[in-house]
Amino acid sequence: MKSHVWRPLYVVIALAVALLVFRFFYVPNDFGSGKRGFMYSYHRQSNEMEWKNQPVKYSVSGRERMHEYCSECHGEIVKVRSEKLHGIIPCEDCHGPALQHPDNPEKLTIDRSRLLCLRCHTSLPYTTSERHRIPGIDPKTHNTGLECVKCHNPHNPSLEGMK
């Protein structure tokens, strides 16, 4: 049977086959959708493992466990701290991510900057916010240019404990 209709049909079939062959080699085997179906979760399944294997930087989770972990070596200072007002702040917030400390890094880089303290202790006139309960200063007038830790002890911040 010879007919002009076959030619374009062959072209269509050839294109479809070429597309399928290309797709077969290009798309990873584990592409598929989980129980959420095609619309929201058509993906390469091995990518989930890739995200799971990202390195963890902040090593200890939870304030209590962090205090426990850190006090294995730094018992004294953790004890002072956890009893005082700043006990609610996780150690790593100021001391930086612990990674595999004490192996790597051997010494943590501590953020002693004024800016770190000002996160909470800038006085803002927000009486309806919890912020109001934190003692605050005006950074423009309160000993400008000096680091807070020169006078205040961050582990024991009560004003009696000032250096």
Binding site: V12, E48, W51, K52, Q54, S61, P90, D93, L124, S129
Partner: protein
Amino acid sequence: MERREFIQKCILVVAGASVPLSALTLIDPKKVFAENPDIQWAFLVDTNKCVGCGFCVKACKTENDIPFEAHVSRTWVERYVYTKDDKRYVDSPDAALNGFTESRIDLGRGEYKEIDKENVGKAFFVPKLCNHCSSPACTQVCPVGATYKTDDGVVLVDRTWCIGCGYCIMACPYGARFFHPIAKVADKCTFCYHRLSKGLDSACVNACPFKARRMGNIHDKNDPITQLIMNERVGVLKDEFGTKPQAFYIGLAQEVR
């Protein structure tokens, strides 16, 4: 062959050829279930507790290698200030990476607004992040299957597969996605998937001194976070979009969207 028949056959062939091979593989439901225990991660933000310190933003950027200088962030904190003469202001300078160290409001474009102390009516802080919606608009629009919802309820981006078209960034009603300036792909909060799967809290939850941010398995009735979501008066952002957000907020105001 008639024209009608020809067109019908063409359509049939093309339709048959375009069925992906993967669609024909059989799935064993038991196997699928065994691999995916019943976990559904959800986030709970207590806006009453937040003081805007921004430790969460700092921890997130450090943990997930988001450049500090770039004006993008996976999580951010917004400040809402209502004045007594009924004006409303919102700002989030540098995504609150360094907290809120100034009383003036950042209006953008280098303009600032100082509000008189006496004029401040109410003010509060709201931490924001990806809502990990149950029906995420962002994954639906991805043309290459690079972003998806995992079975345990986390929305992720496949960095090797993403072509950086930015469609998902536009689709997200919450502005939670951005273009990663180094990886050159769309990026977003992962709920710290690498930490969750090792039994750790996410970096922001971990860093929050006030427990304003918390996270739990919403499919576990005994989980303390699930208990809070069930018993407290919680709300979600932009409910009307139908995305079913999985980040719940205690103490929402009408202006917080």
